[in-house]
Amino acid sequence: MTKINSSPIDNSAIPFKSATTKIITPWAVTLIGLVGMYFPTFRDLLNGLWAGDQQGHGPIVLAVSIWLLWKKTPQVIDASLRPAFAAGWGLLFLGLSLYIIGRSQDILLFEVGSLIFVIASITLILRGTEALKHLWFPLVFMVFMIPLPGVFVDAMTQPMKTAVSYAVESALYAVGYPISRSGVILQIGQYQLLVADACAGLNTLFTLEALGLLYLNLVKHESVARNIILAICIVPISFAANIIRVIALTLITYHLGDEAGQGFLHGFAGMVLFMAALLLIILFDGFLRIILARKS
């Protein structure tokens, strides 16, 4: 009589190479499909919208998202294997529908946004809900690479530009500069400056919000209150950074001339914006740490 071994399979007995192949193969096969599907989308974006000033943050957000997803690979692999087929296939249907409508009808919001649903559905089908929970931040972060609809951007940008222009005029007038304003046009000395969309737009705010959330994710505060307060305060911080940028450009033009203001220093002011925002976020975070430590 043959003895049947009814004990569970000892995973440690499976050679390492075989176990790795077992886990990686399904993901690699799915990745082929994902890359094949989205390659034309990102090729078009890199040759079009992402090459401009307005959506220049797109490729950076994509690269950071891929890095964040890669960083979470061990946790996804270690998560229990409980595929959620119903939710997964349902979400995939939604994602693919959005992709097909978006791609065929040139609706970038749907086309790029569908990637989040597709990745979430793949994770649900291949691994399960626990694995998806590990990926929440990279997936949320991907929202920042979705191009916003022009109508929405225009509607939001105009009041922001006016507010930035007003703040710059008030600040420089208070310290004695000969400045006046008409709408979003600043007149300083002999120079007339137009506060453009890129200077105070919603896209900049979007980029800075992404930067702030990435900072929060990297520093990993345990205090929920600290995370929430900081995430909310990124909006006024971004606005303040925009004001600093426009002030810098106005002063460069006033003191060094029109060429300096529109040349290399114009691009450098963009860097100033991001450095100022990051510095303000870190300073505010430090301030919050002191306040919350005192309270506790």
Partner: protein
Amino acid sequence: MTRELTSAVTLCAIMLLSGFSANQIKPTNFMADTRGGIKISSIIPENFGAWKKNGLIYWGGQSTTAAIAR
């Protein structure tokens, strides 16, 4: 393993097919240039929802021909 691989192959096939289909019906795509492509807004007739009665075209409850005649 077999179940996971089956899911993965199915996912891969569905995604590639979706990508191919979307690109085929995309009007601006280089592959569709010679075939025209499909733009939903262009395949909807100009007077979508209109109906004919006694030789007149009605749209939105009013005869467009009658409106022109007036």
